[in-house]
Symmetry: C2
Subunit: 575 residues, 2 copies
């Protein structure tokens, strides 16, 4: 089932939905031309179609395996990694000083999405490295930058993030890994970390671990955490991978999906590390990295959705089964896409994918505008959109992958078909980089801590667009405006709650309701750009008439508060 990179879709979104031209109008990104964008998207698409996509199923079957303490990747992964590195795809957004292309995150996101559609397991590797590059650019001293950035950007070395410990997951502040200064500028790192994606592999010459640890006498909680660079091999005098460091892989997890991505338990036994950023300021550094990684995971969700949709659509256009009575001869194909229910599934998958992708790329665009202008408006916009993009993007990834199985009928449950893998692989995206519940809590607590300014500004945009086209598009603009009004009222309710539990109890349905409305906004924007007789206008109509109405149930749920929840004891649940 060949993957086809949706290059034209990204270009439409760039040009008409997420404001890519505004990014290119800034001094920071003034060299980014339409030609460069087109060429990069096409080139990356080709690598994803030809090199990555064939590895999707190979990786699922072979798994990454731990042999004699070293992780061995499935057949073909080393070569594919090399193709990504040689193409410069690790460092599209990295600074040119280290060899990066210095291009917008919006563009990187489209490229990452193609990789994710083609082979999610492998794509997780560059995503981790990209995050590390960003953290080092922002926080490391010049020595570390000079040593690591060129190697990471070229893909000679690759990067990991080490946060979680068995007792410290969502509560990172509970971590206990220790870092003891040796007095020579280095630190001795001791502790165990879990869930380390690509903690080891045989595709790069060195693995660079960014590790969160505590200095002696550090304050408790997140305020006492520092960040360290702890490479698998210590750089020698030439800056190449030298002597082995005192760290090793204890084991790999047996996971539901993402089998080709090694998830390691890492042991640090007095390993040598270097401080990145200030003492006790590790969380801030990690958050820089995590915030953009969250957009990266949103894009993993939409990437899986694209892959699963293409897979299901291809099957449905080929499979003959049953009789239908399609009144519109122009669309009759004689295959199962003629069945109204199959078509409903496929169109809903497409409509949700468009909404999630537009939200994720708008978030990336806001980050780029913030980077380029340093305007607080854009920082706030990006911060507000990040949890929505992450949670909705991955929810859509899971839902589209699950519906993709359903379109296949019995074949969907058979692994050879490939539909099930999208569903198994996508499942973790709702969990890692902060579970979707954590994203929702972040949205209703931190991201509404401005009294709702960022939220109301976004809702205002939705309403302004809807009002501007009431005359020509009342059927779409009317329901969207009404929905945004309910969202505004619900946001006011949220902001007025001083007890955070009342916000948290409705956090997930609030986030989902917000995403439903935003999705309608971008669909309307798309319909306005493409014209009333376009497929995009028809898709927007489907979304606004059939999926947007879900906002009402979600936002009603969001406003119920915590009292009922805590009135139920866990004994009630056991009964």
């Amino acid at each position: 089932m060949p993957y086809v990179a949706p290059v034209a879709e990204y270009k439409f979104l760039f040009d008409h939905v997420v404001g890519f031209s505004d990014i290119c109008a800034t001094a920071r990104f003034e060299d980014v031309s339409s030609d460069i964008t087109d060429a990069l998207l096409s080139e990356a698409g080709k690598v994803c179609e030809e090199v990555l996509a064939p590895l999707q199923r190979v990786g699922d079957i072979q798994h990454a395996v731990l042999k004699d303490g070293v992780v061995v990747m499935p057949d073909g992964f080393k070569e594919a990694y090399r193709a990504l590195a040689d193409g410069g795809w690790m460092g599209i957004s990295a600074h040119p000083d280290g060899g990066g292309m210095g291009l917008p995150l919006t563009l990187t996101s489209a490229v990452n999405e193609m990789m994710a559609s083609a082979c999610l397991s492998l794509q997780l590797n560059p995503l981790m490295t990209q995050g590390q590059i960003e953290a080092l650019e922002a926080h490391a001293d010049d020595k570390i930058k000079q040593t690591y950035l060129p190697k990471l950007i070229s893909g000679e070395w690759s990067g990991t993030m080490n946060l979680t410990e068995p007792q410290a997951g969502s509560d990172v502040g509970a971590l206990t890994t220790r870092a003891v200064p040796r007095g020579d500028g280095t630190f001795e790192i001791t502790g165990q970390k879990i869930y380390i994606s690509y903690g080891d592999h045989d595709m790069a010459e060195n693995i660079c671990h960014l590790v969160l640890a505590r200095l002696p006498n550090a304050p408790a909680g997140t305020k006492g955490i520092s960040l360290f660079m702890v490479p698998k091999y210590l750089p020698d005098d030439n800056g190449d991978a030298g002597q082995a460091n005192a760290l090793h892989v204890v084991s790999l997890e047996h996971k539901m999906g993402l089998h080709a991505s090694p998830t390691a338990v890492m042991q640090y036994d007095g390993a040598t590390g270097w401080l990145v950023g200030a003492e006790h300021a590790g969380m801030a550094a990690m958050f820089t990295m995590m915030n953009n990684a969250r957009v990266g995971v949103a894009i993993q969700g939409t990437g899986v959705a694209e892959g699963a949709l293409q897979h299901a659509l291809s099957y449905a256009r080929d499979r003959k089964q049953g009789r239908t009575n399609v009144s519109n001869d122009a669309v009759a194909t004689g295959t199962i896409v003629d069945h109204a229910d199959v078509r409903r599934m496929l169109v809903a998958m497409k409509a949700d994918l468009f909404a999630a992708r537009a939200i994720a790329l708008s978030c990336a665009a806001a980050i780029d505008m913030g980077t380029a202008t340093r305007d607080t408006f854009w920082h706030a916009r990006a911060a507000f959109l990040t949890p929505i993009a992450k949670a909705f993007g991955t929810d859509v990834g899971m839902a589209v992958a699950a519906e993709g199985i359903q379109v296949h009928g019995g074949m969907g449950f058979i692994e050879e078909t490939g539909a099930a893998q999208y569903s198994r692989d996508a499942r973790v995206t709702a969990i890692y980089e902060g579970t979707n519940g954590i994203q929702a809590m972040d949205l209703v607590a931190r991201k509404l801590a401005d009294g709702g300014d960022a939220a109301f500004a976004l809702i205002e945009e939705v309403q302004t667009q809807a009002e501007s086209c009431r005359g020509t598009h009342e059927g779409l603009a009317g329901p969207l405006w009404e929905a945004s009004e309910t969202l505004r009222e619900t946001t006011e309710w949220m902001v007025s709650q001083s007890d955070s539990n009342h916000r948290f109890a409705g956090a997930v349905p609030y986030l989902r309701g917000f995403a439903r409305v935003l999705g309608g906004h971008y669909h309307l924007k798309s319909a306005l750009a493409a014209g009333p007789d376009s497929g995009r206008a028809r898709l927007a109509r489907f979304y606004i008439k059939r999926l947007l109405p879900e906002h009402a149930g979600l936002l009603a749920h969001a406003r119920e508060g915590a009292d009922d929840l805590y009135a139920l004891s866990t004994e009630d649940l056991l009964a």
Copy 2:
């Protein structure tokens, strides 16, 4: 993670929600006492807890495997199967003439659910055999009944259903397997069947295949299909398994889940078969079997939901992570159930499980009332509830299993935890025995073909109960009555559509919306029975205030018709 059979929950539902006493008041089931019910539920629960539950993960890891043409089951399955057979659990509802207990399907459903929670892979075997027993009781001649029923009921032999062929899935009428009469009362069966659950295994002495095939010169489509009994071993003069029949397992499927349940491709090479029922009347016989099997699959969905909920709740009550600020000291546990969002997930899982289980058991109860009274009202009620029970029960099974993973955070993605298996295993329940899309199409076409009588009678019951308690429970009765009114209007819209595509385009959201309202009805019934200060009343309140509002979006979607769908070409979807 030990499974605990929720015996008290079944008894509450029997006594207060699904009208079990009405069943026991009929002449047919007058011998069923409360003592017998209690004893059977407890006894079955014990077997599921002690014998089946420990096999859940073993089966997932070892898989059923094809060795030298024979399927070998994972360790312990043979012994567990024997325990089920010896306990009489294959034939609880089978007629006493053949050695069955002759008990209501409602009771069988509760027992089957416990088996499904404990080990879904194994439970699928008795479910298939139960369906075969029922088909033979209703359609086979005395000779076949005498030969097969005692062996099936005792579990010495087990049964399969052979419908699907590569080109004939949802469209059964396209099947091509041939049956040629030999003139001696037997038929020569030739063809290939796929997706045959337990097509072979080493737990029983014989495997009895019910096979759909075409006689020479049979009419095209479903009107030309006949049903045959084709055993693996031909019965000898003593009625024991004798000479091998001309059939074999070609291969087993590699599936996303349900690894211990062998899904076979079966080849019949002029195998000997006997006609069951009249010539060309195979579909009617198969439908008898399939209808109750659909309730059986609904119960698989709720069974998985129960297992996944227990698993998640146990983890959440144990896992310490992060700080919470629970104002109600009475419910604070110091573990992650204190977090509002985790509690929201668990309570929603429980509330949906209650709704789905009440619907499925009400459907089984309606079947029992129909069996006992032969009243067309009950036949219509059972027929109407069946697709709702199947689709909603399995949707809830999948959703609860998916949320169970989420409650576990990172641990949920690791197979050792066991949470992922529920999700992988449950996935097929939305597909087999008629996909959930097929169920929804059945609901809006055949089951509304009475002009909506069965639907309106059910909605009337919802409204009558809601009106009866407005004085005391306005907060619950009011929203439920309003929702049922929207459901009534949507049903009127459905009934008024002469073009079936308009119905089909909204079939799935209509079914889901109907289930949402019915769930509220049973929750209210439960709250009324348990009293205003009960956990059940609190759970009902959660459902009605937070989940029932989803009906609005679903029913709005349901009323949109097919025009927009068919306005979108498949080219629009590719774009």
